[in-house]
């Protein structure tokens, strides 16, 4: 691997906070690695939907002659056969975050733990509300990872005497989080806990709760480890006592591993699952990163 090496990086467009973070960390690690390894060239593309993302990786193969592909597939089922073609063309393939629909395509799999994100949150709910109680759920978009998190949470709270009053989609979006939470507050006089599974949604929900003056009645647990929320956790804010990590920085890990494999001949293969850990007041400092836009 002494000649020029080209690595393609394909991620979904920054259409909410977390993917925004993915874009940021990908860009950052590319910039860093480019100075470290001058003979490595990176091709970076972000796509708003599956056909565009497939188009991006096709272009990387046919016009940019990539040697390896690091991809966070927006819609893994739709992308599977296209990624397989890249693999079949003899490229090294690293898949990030989302499982393809057939096994054995990727050389390397780097991922967070979606069911774990739900389950960890559920564990905290049980802990914080030993008596159980009424909770509401603000979901993301109707796509598989949302379903995995949701299922993880639902099975996690089993036996905890919780009543899920309702769940609605807030589209991983602050504005929608605000709206849905406002209406939940109108509708339900008694809410003990809110699970939003995403910090963007949390931020909207928190504003709605503050507006209604019901901060003291409930807490909000999100996910993904957004700086603003982590700060609040670190400060011991009662409204956001904890968060669950699901860092977009996993893309950087994947890019670094792939690069060191190609350039340094480091053998990497298999699965790297980054835990979804519970972030509390005590360990929040470990997750803070002042430069991150997420």
């Amino acid at each position: 691997a002494q000649d020029k090496v080209t690595i393609g990086v394909s991620v979904p467009a920054a259409d909410h906070g977390w993917t925004g973070g993915v874009n940021y960390f990908a860009q950052q690690s590319i910039d860093r690695l480019k100075t470290t390894y001058p003979n490595v060239e990176f091709v970076f593309a972000s796509a708003p939907d599956a056909p565009k993302q497939i188009a991006d990786i096709e272009d990387m193969v046919s016009t940019r002659n990539i040697d390896a592909l690091v991809i966070l597939p927006g819609d893994p089922d739709a992308m599977t056969s296209a990624i397989k073609q890249v693999k079949d063309a003899g490229k090294f393939v690293t898949v990030v975050d989302r499982q393809l629909s057939i096994t054995g395509v990727e050389n390397l799999y780097v991922a967070g733990d979606n069911p774990g994100l739900g389950a960890n949150a559920a564990t905290y709910f049980k802990e914080a509300l030993p008596e159980g109680g009424n909770i509401v759920i603000l979901r993301g978009l109707p796509i598989p990872i949302d379903q995995q998190r949701f299922d993880g949470f639902m099975s996690g709270i089993e036996g905890g005497n919780f009543t899920v009053l309702d769940d609605e989609f807030a589209n991983w979006n602050r504005d929608d989080g605000f709206k849905v939470m406002q209406d939940f507050l109108t509708r339900f006089p008694d809410i003990k806990g809110v699970w939003t599974q995403d910090d963007d949604i949390s931020l909207g929900a928190i504003e709605a709760i503050k507006q209604a003056g019901r901060e003291s009645e409930m807490f909000v647990v999100g996910g993904a480890g957004m700086q603003q929320i982590l700060q609040a956790v670190a400060n011991g804010d009662a409204l956001t006592p904890v968060d669950v990590s699901y860092s977009p920085a996993m893309i950087a890990t994947a890019i670094e591993l792939t690069t060191s494999h190609l350039v340094g001949g480091v053998q990497v293969a298999g699965r790297y699952i980054l835990d979804s850990t519970l972030i509390t007041k005590d360990n929040a400092a470990d997750f803070l990163d002042a430069d991150s836009p997420f």
């Binding site: 467009a13 109707p142 602050r174 605000f178 709206k179 209406d183």
Partner: protein
């Protein structure tokens, strides 16, 4: 098709016309009845003010869109424009803090910047359309992409957040109010009244309708078609600016997802309100009703558990079609 301004003078019209006029109101009424039947909190003061305050952004934008559409144009860029204005406004405020300190000074400067940026963006759209002679659909589709990219770029793919202390100063603009009526609702109402007057009682409004109805006739009637049209886009831009002034204090942030699909929602509100998509006839009060209908649909969906959240969009779609169906007599 008949000009609405005449209606007040002739209340003796037939049933069909009244249906056309009362249609959106009727749809609104049915929706309210549905809301009441689903949840006793629906009519609560806090719920109603919540819904109206939430609708104010789209509402203010849609009032601008009513002028654009009445004059035969279209503006697809409003959602992205709102996002980029919000982003720039936040950057301006954050940037001014070291010199101006925390306080209303910074907020007012930011607000001024927001309005100005809106005017500039609208002027850009308008000039491309009137001087460049490019279809409004294409120009604003293009600027929609440009504005959206710009905010993503400025936010580095993430979120631009307003300094927390400034946000605290600014927050009351969304959450407080006068005599219990939240400011967003007051601003929305003022813009609506102003819009209604502008549309019905000024030469500008008349000229918009004339241009949308038949551009040639307008030109032969010594109306400066290009200028009037340009003005509609500038007005649209300014109103997007006003909407952003109310949006930023709510969450204190802007990102690449801010304002996504607002254009569609605004246009839908305008059309549900009875304005003709092809131009030539527009009514502001209809737009207000249309936007409130759209706001209520979302609210009602959140107030019940009967419909699977997966089917929210279908419910919305059905209501939109029904709302317009109510305006149609048997044969139009």
């Amino acid at each position: 098709m008949s000009a609405a301004s005449d209606i007040s003078e002739k209340p003796k019209r037939g049933f069909r016309l009244e249906l056309k006029t009362v249609g959106p109101l009727l749809a609104l009424l049915l929706l309210v009845l549905l809301g009441i039947s689903l949840n006793e909190n629906f009519l609560s003061y806090s719920n109603l003010t919540n819904v109206l305050a939430r609708s104010s952004f789209i509402g203010i934008i849609a009032i601008g869109a009513t002028f654009v559409i009445t004059a035969g144009g279209i503006d697809l860029s409003v959602g992205s424009m709102a996002a980029v204005i919000a982003g720039l406004m936040i950057m301006v405020m954050n940037w001014l803090i070291p010199t101006m300190g925390i306080g209303w000074g910074v907020v007012l400067a930011g607000m001024l910047a927001g309005i100005l940026l809106g005017g500039v963006a609208g002027t850009f759209n308008g000039l491309m359309i009137t001087r460049g002679r490019i279809e409004a659909f294409i120009v604003t589709l293009g600027t929609m992409g440009i504005f959206r990219s710009l905010v993503t770029f400025l936010a580095n793919g993430g979120t631009l957040s307003l300094n927390f202390d400034v946000a605290d100063v600014y927050r009351p603009v969304y959450y407080d109010g006068l005599l219990g009526v939240p400011y967003p609702i007051i601003v929305f109402a003022l813009v609506a009244i102003g819009g209604e007057i502008l549309m019905r009682r000024t030469a500008f409004g008349r000229h918009c309708a004339a241009i949308g109805s038949n551009e040639q006739v307008a030109r032969y009637s010594s109306i400066n078609v290009d200028n009037v049209r340009l003005l509609t886009y500038i007005l649209q831009g300014l109103l997007v600016g006003v909407a952003v002034l109310l949006y930023v204090p709510r969450l204190g942030s802007a990102s690449s997802t801010t304002g996504v699909l607002w254009e569609l929602e605004a246009i839908a509100g305008v059309i549900i309100g009875g304005t003709t998509l092809k131009g030539g006839y527009g009514r502001i009060w209809g737009t207000v009703v249309g936007v409130v209908i759209l706001g209520l649909i979302g609210n009602i969906l959140n107030l019940q558990s009967l419909i699977s959240p997966y089917l929210n969009g279908a419910f919305q779609g059905v209501i939109i079609i029904l709302a317009v169906l109510l305006q149609r007599g048997k044969r139009t």
